[in-house]
C-alpha cells in the first residue's frame, strides 16, 4: 500500500523505496554489530548462570529477540528496506503469536470449570 500513487503506478516509487536493497552498509558497521552480538551471547550465558526462577526464560527470550533484531536490522538490511518489507517480516511473528496465544488459552483455562459435583 506504500506505493499506491494515483497516476503513477506501482513502480513509481515512494521516496526512499528506490534504495531498497541498494543501501550499502560499510564493513565497520558490520564489525560493530558482530561485537554487539558477541556481547549479547555472553549476556545470554551470564543470565543463564544466575538462577532467577521463573524469570530466566523471559530474560533469555528477551536477549534472543534483541539478537535477532540486530541481525535483522543490519545484516538483513531490514532497517533500510521499505515499510512493506518490514510489515511482512513481522507478519510471520505476529501470526505465530496468534497460534501461541489462542492455543495456550485453551490449555491454561482447562481447569477453570469447577463442577460442583467434584
Amino acid at each position: 500500500m506504500a506505493n499506491a500513487h494515483v497516476g503513477h503506478g506501482a513502480h513509481d516509487h515512494a521516496p526512499g523505496e528506490h534504495d531498497a536493497g541498494h543501501h550499502i552498509i560499510e564493513p565497520p558497521t558490520y564489525y560493530k554489530v558482530f561485537g554487539i552480538l558477541m556481547i549479547l551471547l555472553i549476556v545470554t550465558l551470564a543470565a543463564a548462570a544466575i538462577d532467577l526462577g521463573p524469570l530466566n526464560l523471559p530474560i533469555a527470550m528477551l536477549i534472543a529477540i534483541v539478537k535477532a533484531g540486530v541481525v535483522m536490522a543490519y545484516f538483513m538490511h531490514l532497517k533500510f528496506n521499505s515499510a512493506l518489507v518490514r510489515l511482512f517480516a513481522f507478519a510471520g511473528v505476529a501470526w505465530l503469536m496468534i497460534l501461541f496465544h489462542l492455543t495456550l488459552n485453551d490449555y491454561v483455562s482447562r481447569p477453570w470449570l469447577q463442577t460442583p459435583g467434584q
Binding site: 536493497g21 552498509i25 541481525v71 490449555y107
Partner: protein, 244 residues
C-alpha cells in the same frame, strides 16, 4: 527463488539483467526482496509450529525438560552459536563484497561462511553421535533408563514419567534436525554461489542473488539464536559439564 534470481539475473539470455516480466531494475530488486521476505515469513511459521510444540511440552513437563536438557553439552552449543553468529558476519561481508563488485572478496567470504557452516554441522554430528552412543535418540536408540538408572529413579519419585524425558529429546531432535536440514541446503547454495561468483556472476552489477542468499542464511542463524537458550540453557549455566 534464489536460483531463479540467479539464472535470469546472471544474464543467461544475453540481454540485460532485468528479467522479461519486469520493467526496470528497481522493480526487480524490490520484487525479489519482498518475495524472499515472504518466504522467510513462511519459514518462521513452519519453525513456529515446532516452537509451539516445544513451549507446550515444556510448560507441561518442566521437570523432564530440565532433566533432558542437562544431557546436552553446553560448550558445544555455545561454540556453535558463536560459529553461526560469526558466519552471519562473513555472509554479510560477502553481500557487501558483491555490492562493491569485488570478486575475490566475494568468493573468499563465501568460502569462510561455507567452512563455518561445515564446522557447525560437524559439531552437531559429534553431539548426535554421542547421543547415539548414549542411547538418547528416541525411536532410533533409546537407552536412557539403562544409562541413567539413578536419574530415572529420582524422576520417578518426582512423578516424572518414562516418556516425559523422551519428549524433550523428540522435540530437540525435531528442531535441531529441521534446522540442520536448512543448514545443509544453505551450504549447498553457498557452494554453488561460490562457483558462480568465481565466474564473475555477481560482481557485474547483479549482486542481488547474493543478498537473497544472505537473507536465508541469516534467518537460519536467527532460528539458532532462539534454539540455543531454549534447548541448552534450561538447567542454568554449566558450560563444562556434559550431562552424558
Amino acid at each position: 527463488m534464489v536460483s531463479d534470481a540467479h539464472a535470469h539475473g546472471a544474464g543467461h539470455h544475453g540481454h540485460g539483467l532485468v528479467q522479461h516480466q519486469f520493467d526496470d531494475m528497481p522493480q526487480q530488486r524490490e520484487s525479489f526482496t519482498l518475495g524472499m521476505w515472504l518466504f522467510l515469513a513462511t519459514e518462521i511459521m513452519m519453525f513456529g509450529g515446532l516452537f509451539f510444540a516445544y513451549s507446550f511440552y515444556r510448560w507441561k513437563l518442566p521437570g523432564a525438560f530440565n532433566e533432558g536438557a542437562s544431557h546436552l553439552v553446553q560448550l558445544w552449543g555455545t561454540g556453535n552459536t558463536f560459529v553461526l553468529l560469526f558466519s552471519s558476519l562473513t555472509m554479510a561481508m560477502a553481500v557487501h563484497a558483491a555490492a562493491i563488485k569485488n570478486k575475490q572478496k566475494l568468493v573468499m567470504w563465501l568460502g569462510i561462511t561455507f567452512v563455518l557452516g561445515l564446522v557447525f554441522l560437524g559439531v552437531k554430528a559429534i553431539e548426535w553421535g554421542t547421543d547415539y552412543q548414549e542411547g538418547l535418540i528416541p525411536g532410533v536408540r533409546w537407552n536412557y533408563y539403562d544409562h541413567h538408572h539413578e536419574a530415572a529413579q529420582h524422576l520417578a519419585e518426582q512423578n516424572i514419567g518414562v516418556h516425559d524425558v523422551m519428549m524433550f529429546f523428540v522435540v530437540y531432535f525435531c528442531m535441531t534436525g529441521l534446522h540442520a536440514i536448512h543448514m545443509i541446503i544453505g551450504l549447498g547454495l553457498v557452494a554453488y554461489f561460490m562457483f558462480l561468483g568465481g565466474k564473475g556472476h555477481f560482481t557485474n552489477g547483479n549482486d542481488q542473488p547474493v543478498e537473497i542468499l544472505g537473507l536465508y542464511w541469516h534467518l537460519v542463524d536467527i532460528i539458532w539464536i532462539f534454539l540455543f537458550p531454549l534447548l541448552y540453557l534450561i538447567p542454568g549455566l554449566n558450560l563444562f559439564k556434559g550431562g552424558h
